[in-house]
Amino acid sequence: MAPDWNEVPDEEFRSVFRTWVDQNCPAHLRYMRKQRPLFNEVAEWYHALAAKGWLAPTWPRQYGGMGLSAAKHMIYVEEWGRLGCPRIPDHGIGLVGPLLIQYGTEEQKAHYLPCILSGEHVWCQGYSEPNAGSDLASLRTSAELDGDVFVVNGQKIWTTLAHCANWIFVLVRTERDAKVRQKGITVLLLDLTSPGVRVRPIENLRGETDFCEVFFDNVRVPLKNLVGKIHEGWTVAKSVLGHERIFLGAPTRPEYALERLRRLAEARGAFEDPAFLSRFARLRLDLYDLGSAFERYAKVLRAGGELGADVSALKIFTTELYQRITEEMLTVAGEEARFADDLGAGDVDIDAMNLFLDSRAPAIFGGSNEIQRNILAKAVLQLPG
């Protein structure tokens, strides 16, 4: 079995991890413009990590993971970002693995976990529907039991990377007359190559296809692909993000964008303008203080504690700061903000428009910021309903 990294001091782990990643992550994959590369585009990096045993940082070691504590996992993610490594299709690693480890049968674990590590199964997440976004419990994709097979009908949308996945874990309604809407929902593992599945990529504002629509027309799913209990999938579905919620609030995106803004502003002489300087100073301090706030939550994890609902504050702040920084980039660009492509700034090109458009998304995904505010109002401020 792999070594127990939690026994290794933080700084030593950081250095070992960093050195190996730096030597093994291919140069042409660093700092990719694409936020969500397809599996084939980053397969060599995926397989290299798998061969080293470093693909699944949080899975227990007996399942081929690194078994990292939350504190060590943060180091893993930090160094990954610092070295400009590309995001790999990680729904299998980040969502399906933990889901099965917690709720799956022994047979499911034995079958699916190795297929994730080998890259044979590439997973996507079927939660949102056209009429079930923030209000996820109103989902209507149905599954009816016919003997020992579920027959699935309906549609999912905003399914990230479905066009390069071959499996989907999907939330379906198995009971329609429940009084509590959260009841009667079930989690199924569904083979996307089954007859009756159709995947249509959706082009986003940046001209890329990160997400898709997925249609199910009488798709037959064996009963053994049920995760947890039938009708009780809501709890299962909600549990997939534990301490990883902190990463939704990580300062990575605004950090990168502020550095780009700084370069653009230097090239354009914007720092000579006191009005710009004042706006820049505010953004810089917002980023600095986000670091302090992130550290407050990270400390909780390092001490072995669990995150509360208050961590939503980070998600709101970081995504809205990202937007404000990229909006400022367009202001600094002046009339050049009319261009679709990158802006020259000395020896580098600044992808101002790309970042501006990209910054629209994080305030929406992972629970829109309005939903995050509802959560805080209820769970933290305990306001009347």
């Binding site: 006191p274 810089r284 702040f317 309005e370 401020l381 306001l383």
Partner: protein
């Protein structure tokens, strides 16, 4: 509500913070603020001596001159609790700033006299270091020092027994203590926004014995740097306390106030405003903790940045939270009888002291990257 999350292995910090709650039972903050305003801004000597008795004045004085030997963590927690309880005494100026100046002075009889008196409450030493229309100069004549010039924005001048004055001398700058009743010293006060008073002090050939000199330096900045640093941190903590208490009162009020058959805090428009206020208070608390950590890590440059950020964040948060708190109290919030207005006024005062957020942010980016050098 957001609180400062500092390690507290032996429970000292909780005890300190609880003792402020107990104190506020005897001397309710809002009542004291209104009474002080009624007296024309003069502080209540009873409250100050009770604070000294509690061991809170001159907390940062080193043990060797009679201080408690407690550190910035304790001062931060104390200041936050004072802010929450709205104990609007001049703690920043007459305790934190003064103690840092006196603690950093050359050992000697005057330093010991001030330290002992501050701790017991018999001496109220108030710093006067912001130059007014006439710069402060000091010249030596017959073994005395003659001070001339003007100092502004001096807190609690009527109650002070001594002023800690910075003046330019023939060979640099000096810090010295001046008895409040010294001939040639005149106090002129204006009402402060939160019911206190701010004085301009004029010195006209005011004679001070030479043994009252506490420190000498080449530049003003060298004399004041640490005092400004510590006081900004304490003000940031106090502002965080003001902010989180104002938010707490607003949550209670809006949860209680019924319109259209429901508590107004059940409306999403109100809820999202309250959540945004909570996030600001949470970030302010995190910024203050970061500054305490940075100061304890003994990296001067990093500590300066962290304190600038904390004071800017906490000041902005307190001012903006209190503004919205007044609004969310509806017409009641606009009345003098409702306490929420006192929180707003206290926040304005502390936010404007030792640098408003805009100025502090510009200072931060100048220090960090050199942007706008010479402008601030």
């Amino acid at each position: 509500m957001p609180k400062l999350m500092l390690d507290d292995p032996d429970g000292t910090l909780v005890m300190l913070s609880d003792s402020v709650t107990g104190f506020a039972g005897r001397f309710p903050g809002a009542k004291a603020m209104r009474e002080r305003r009624g007296r024309g801004g003069t502080m209540d000597p009873l409250i100050w001596s009770a604070m000294a008795e509690a061991g809170w004045i001159g907390l940062l004085l080193p043990q060797e001159c009679g201080g408690a030997g407690l550190g910035l963590r304790e001062q931060t927690v104390l200041s936050e609790a004072l802010g929450r309880a709205l104990i609007a005494e001049p703690t920043g100026a007459a305790s934190v700033f003064a103690a840092t100046l006196v603690g950093g002075a050359s050992p000697g009889a005057e330093r010991s006299r001030l330290a002992a008196g501050m701790t017991s409450g018999e001496i109220i030493a108030v710093p006067a270091w912001t130059s007014g229309a006439k710069p402060m100069t000091a010249r030596s004549v017959n073994g005395s020092i003659l001070l001339s010039g003007e100092m502004r924005f001096v807190d609690a001048a009527r109650a002070a027994t001594d002023f800690l004055v910075v003046a330019r001398s023939a060979d640099g700058v000096i810090l010295l203590s001046v008895a409040a009743d010294a001939p040639g010293l005149a106090i002129s006060e204006r009402a402060g926004v939160d019911g206190g008073a701010l004085a301009t002090i004029s010195f006209s050939d005011c004679a001070v014995p030479a043994d009252r000199v506490l420190s000498r330096a080449n530049r003003c900045e060298d004399l004041l740097r640490r005092a400004i640093l510590h006081t900004r941190l304490a003000l940031a903590a106090e502002l965080t306390g003001v902010a989180s208490k104002a938010l707490e009162l607003t949550i209670a009020y809006t949860s209680d106030r019924v319109q259209f058959g429901k508590p107004i805090a059940s409306f999403q428009a109100i809820q999202h405003r309250l959540v945004d206020m909570w996030i600001e208070a949470d970030f302010a608390a995190a910024a203050v903790v970061n500054a305490v950590d940075a100061l304890q890590a003994k990296d001067d440059d990093a500590a300066e940045l962290a304190v600038l950020a904390a004071k800017a964040r906490a000041g902005e948060a307190a001012f903006s939270i209190c503004r919205r708190a007044v609004h969310l109290h509806g017409a009641m919030g606009y009345t003098d009888e409702c306490d929420i207005g006192l929180y707003l006024k206290r926040a304005i005062n502390l936010n404007a002291m030792l640098g408003q957020p805009e100025q502090l942010r510009l200072e931060f980016v100048e220090r960090e990257s050199g942007y706008g050098r010479g402008r601030t």
